[in-house]
């Protein structure tokens, strides 16, 4: 496999413009002759489908959700970045570019990141025009806040529901195209395979989740905008149904999977309450602006937090990082919390939590200020735990939250399979080894509104297409492959539920491939995951019927894929003998315990190529060059 990133030549500021000029265009009257399949209608997919439909292409959009509005983009709270410099605090495209490359710990492609920063301003214009009710100041202009430790205020927000409002904007644009007849939306359809004809992605196999019918669809190109794979960890801040099936089946058809081990663990989530727990809820990281994080100094402490005197508390982040204190980056805060709990200082009934305490802030600023700032979060916490965070410190714990890795794409967002494009969280492109707050929404919409519509057009205009029908052999073959897999799942009739296997995998992923990774533990994971997988295929119990609405069957297929993806994630983590961003290898740290990169050996994108289940995949490397932002060591002391 050769990886050609297709980065245009010339100075970084000019690359995208030059590239756009050089791209071939499809004559407007010819566009409706081209069919594009859009799998996924979250921020990335809905915005791309709407824009492509508007250009006049014939778009078929699919989602396993009932409506595009239910995609997990809806849950994003904090905001979306754009270097508008409305705050007059020195922001610029260049600064956002710089922050993102550095924040990604020098494992992202400079050219892509620059383009992202360049188009991000247009996203805000677009959203405002669509009627997204962003927060405003008293003069009626857009308000900005600083987010995730950024030194400038460049984050646009709509209360704590930014993702919801942006998705509603994209969904309304999509609805308009559905009404115009350029986009046809297929709800409750799950893509289960990609169809390749003569080396090009030409269609998909879907299951109608209501009737169980297996369907085939043909097109000139296929786009995957299917979100991230953090549910490999079972417990995460992702929605219950979020999964990696579309990505994984495309990987098995030849698309390279890039940097699977670059996963993000968010430090402030509500901890697991008990074994019944089904998912974890994110608490915005803004809480760390006023909350102090601590654990008791005594192991196995049983007193209530209020009864533990000041001198018996360890404000460990403030102790270890006197200058950044509680505001250290996500990866550092997460790792330290886990470390404290592993050592036996954790609190709560499970011992897997640390305190986040507002007592000081309340006595300094008054309760009303804290209420004003975090009222909705405190309510949410109270709703879930029945504890009052104004009088009892919150209990928080890290949780899997975002995946920077994904299918490898070139500058045009095309994967290693011609005609298969990937947008949003599903691709690996812009965040390197660590994503900064408020930049995933930005990337999803940049891909959908401003990049894919151009690069797809270029592909369609410059490619020769044979006529393809769903009655062709490639479709029949893929369809019967899927039907066989379903039959196999339904016929095992074992003793363990799908959920039990998923939980088991999640435990291994969290323990051995979670925050602090090392060789021994990763090898342990690589031993245990195939064992769980093997047992799954012998002992899983899938009830119900295949030709019916069957949530168990849906889940079984997804968990089968997680059981393979988990192994690749561990393998990638084992091979990357360095620490960078969210990937922390305990063997590679500075004396102060910080991530230690190895730029000489690992300044590349690891793009894995499928070689069969249980067989070691082939590693392809795309070297990363930093011409504009020189790699340096992060420090938060």
């Amino acid at each position: 496999m050769t990886l050609d990133s297709k980065i245009p030549s010339g100075p970084i500021e000019k690359k995208w413009d030059t590239h756009r000029f050089n791209m071939k265009l499809v004559n407007p009257s010819n566009r409706r002759k081209y069919t594009v399949i859009m799998v996924g209608t979250g921020l990335a997919g809905a915005s791309a489908a709407a824009s492509l439909g508007e250009l006049g292409y014939n778009v078929l959009a699919f989602s396993y959700h009932e409506s595009p509005r239910r995609a997990h983009s809806i849950a994003a709270q904090g905001g979306i970045n754009a270097p508008k410099n409305y705050s007059n605090d020195g922001d610029s495209i260049w600064r956002l570019f710089y922050d993102t490359v550095k924040g990604g710990d020098y494992r992202a492609r400079e050219a892509n990141v620059y383009r992202l920063a360049q188009v991000s301003g247009n996203i805000i214009d677009q959203c405002v025009a669509q009627g997204v009710p962003f927060a405003r100041d008293y003069a009626g202009y857009l308000d900005n806040r600083s987010f995730g430790g950024a030194q400038v205020s460049r984050t646009f927000y709509a209360r704590g529901q930014t993702g919801q409002q942006l998705l509603m904007g994209a969904y309304s644009a999509l609805s308009r195209q559905i009404n115009a007849g350029t986009v046809k939306f297929f709800p409750r359809r799950e893509m289960l395979d990609l169809v390749i004809v003569n080396g090009q992605a030409r269609g998909i196999i879907c299951r109608d989740l209501v009737t169980g019918k297996i369907e085939t669809y043909a097109a000139n190109a296929v786009v995957l905008a299917t979100g991230g794979y953090a549910n490999t960890f079972y417990l995460s801040t992702m929605a219950k149904a979020s999964n990696a099936t579309a990505l994984w089946r495309a990987y098995k058809k030849g698309a390279a999977f890039a940097n699977p081990c670059f996963t993000q663990i968010h430090p402030t989530c509500i901890p697991q309450g008990g074994p019944y727990q089904s998912k974890l809820t994110l608490m915005s990281e803004s809480l760390r602006n006023d909350g102090r994080i601590w654990v008791p100094k005594k192991k196995g402490e049983t007193r209530k937090p209020q009864d533990i005197p000041e001198e018996e508390r360890d404000y460990y982040l403030e102790r270890m990082y006197p200058s950044f204190g509680n505001l250290v980056p996500r990866d550092v805060a997460s790792r330290r919390a886990k470390e404290m709990c592993d050592k036996g200082f954790g609190v709560g009934s499970t011992g897997l939590a640390v305190y986040l305490d507002f007592a000081d802030a309340i006595s300094r600023l008054g309760k009303h200020v804290i209420e004003e700032r975090y009222g909705n979060l405190c309510d949410m916490y109270h709703e879930i735990t029945a504890e009052d965070p104004y009088t009892t410190p919150m209990r928080i714990y890290p949780a899997a939250h975002y995946t920077m890795g994904g299918l490898w794409v070139d500058y045009n967002l095309m994967s290693t399979i011609p005609g298969l494009f990937v947008g949003g969280e599903a691709n690996f492109s812009d965040h390197g080894a660590n994503r900064l707050g408020a930049s995933a929404l930005m990337q999803g919409l940049a891909d959908g509104y401003f990049i894919l519509p151009y690069t797809l057009g270029n592909y369609l205009a410059s490619t020769k297409f044979d006529s393809v029908k769903t009655s062709d052999g490639a479709f029949k073959e893929a369809q019967s492959g899927i039907e066989d897999m379903i039959k196999r799942l339904m016929s095992i009739n074992g003793k363990k539920t799908v959920e039990e296997f998923h939980r088991e995998l999640g435990k291994v992923m969290w323990e051995f491939v979670g925050m602090g990774r090392n060789k021994t533990r990763l090898q342990q994971a690589l031993k245990e995951i195939p064992q769980i997988r093997e047992e799954f295929w012998k002992n899983v119990k899938v009830v119900g019927a295949a030709n019916d609405l069957n949530a168990e069957l849906e889940r079984a297929g997804r968990v089968a894929d997680f059981l393979e993806l988990g192994e690749l994630l561990a393998l990638d983590a084992l091979h990357r003998e360095e620490s960078c961003g969210g990937h922390f290898r305990e063997e590679h740290q500075t004396e102060e315990g910080e991530a230690l990169r190895n730029d000489k050996k690992f300044s590349y994108v690891a793009a894995w190529e499928f070689a069969g289940v249980g067989t070691k995949p082939v590693l392809n490397k795309e070297p990363l060059k930093f011409e504009y932002v020189k790699p340096s060591q992060r420090s938060y002391k």
């Binding site: 849950a75 709703e383 959920e499 119990k541 119900g544």
Partner: protein, 246 residues
């Protein structure tokens, strides 16, 4: 905590359906209502029975997927929460709890507690947007919006499209849902240009889908998980009259 449950089971659209009794034991008061159903489903699957089908995804009250009538109330007891946010501690030990799907002609039951709410998407497609083209828009700050209007627009935009308002309404009206969208746009300068066509088309589609009329019962507001105010219905009515007259 232990509970007795009466849950609506219905194989598909055409099946008649019926309540079936279940019991769950030793549920943590901190578990959510959906986690309680997970526990029950786990035991059903282990016995080889089909689990109860219910819609859900984010489990934090924002995607609008979940929703059922619990003890006669949309999204169950409690105000301003979706079913997924409901915790078992609000019930009493050994309570009998009744759960059934949204019941309205416009939302056909697909299976057990899952209904088809695509009628709401079709109302959106009829006019729930501002016809701005990708790229063909002015600089964001060239459209100032008075803070108060932006806030009120955001209040309306908080709707999660769950359909609880319809289920709660004795007439199965979707007025609160439609009003929230019409209101969000009518309050913004960007949305004023198409206000007439929008309200007429959305209301027309709403009628076509078989939703009932609003008779100012206000059960919708009481059961709405996002506390969308009925004042938006008043605005919808004004917008509608205005559009009809001009």
């Amino acid at each position: 905590m232990d509970f007795k449950l009466k849950i609506w089971r219905q194989k598909n659209r055409n099946d008649k359906g019926q309540f079936v009794d279940y019991e769950v034991k030793a549920v943590s008061p901190d578990a959510s209502f959906l986690e309680m159903l997970d526990i029950l489903n786990d035991t059903l699957v282990k016995k080889g029975e089909e689990p109860i089908a219910f819609d859900h995804d984010c489990r934090e009250g924002i995607c609008g997927s979940c929703g059922m009538v619990i003890d006669g109330r949309s999204h169950g007891p409690g105000r301003g929460i979706a079913t997924c946010e409901l915790r078992m501690r609000v019930f009493r030990d050994s309570d009998t709890i009744v759960a059934e799907p949204w019941r309205t002609k416009a939302f056909p039951i697909l299976k057990d507690l899952i209904v088809d709410r695509t009628a709401l998407d079709r109302i959106m497609a009829a006019g729930g947007y501002i016809s701005s083209k990708t790229g063909g828009v002015p600089e964001a700050n060239s459209i100032p919006v008075p803070k108060h209007d932006a806030e009120e627009s955001m209040d309306a935009a908080a709707c999660i499209g769950c359909g609880a308002c319809v289920a709660a309404c004795p007439n199965s009206s979707a007025m609160l849902f439609v009003a929230a969208k019409v209101s969000q746009f009518a309050l913004l300068p960007q949305g004023k240009i198409e206000r007439k066509e929008r309200v007429l088309r959305m209301v027309e589609q709403m009628d076509k889908e078989g939703f009932g009329n609003c008779s100012n019962n206000y059960a919708c507001e009481a059961e709405c998980p996002k506390k969308i105010s009925v004042t938006h219905i008043a605005r919808l009515n004004r917008e509608f009259i205005r559009a009809e007259l001009t």
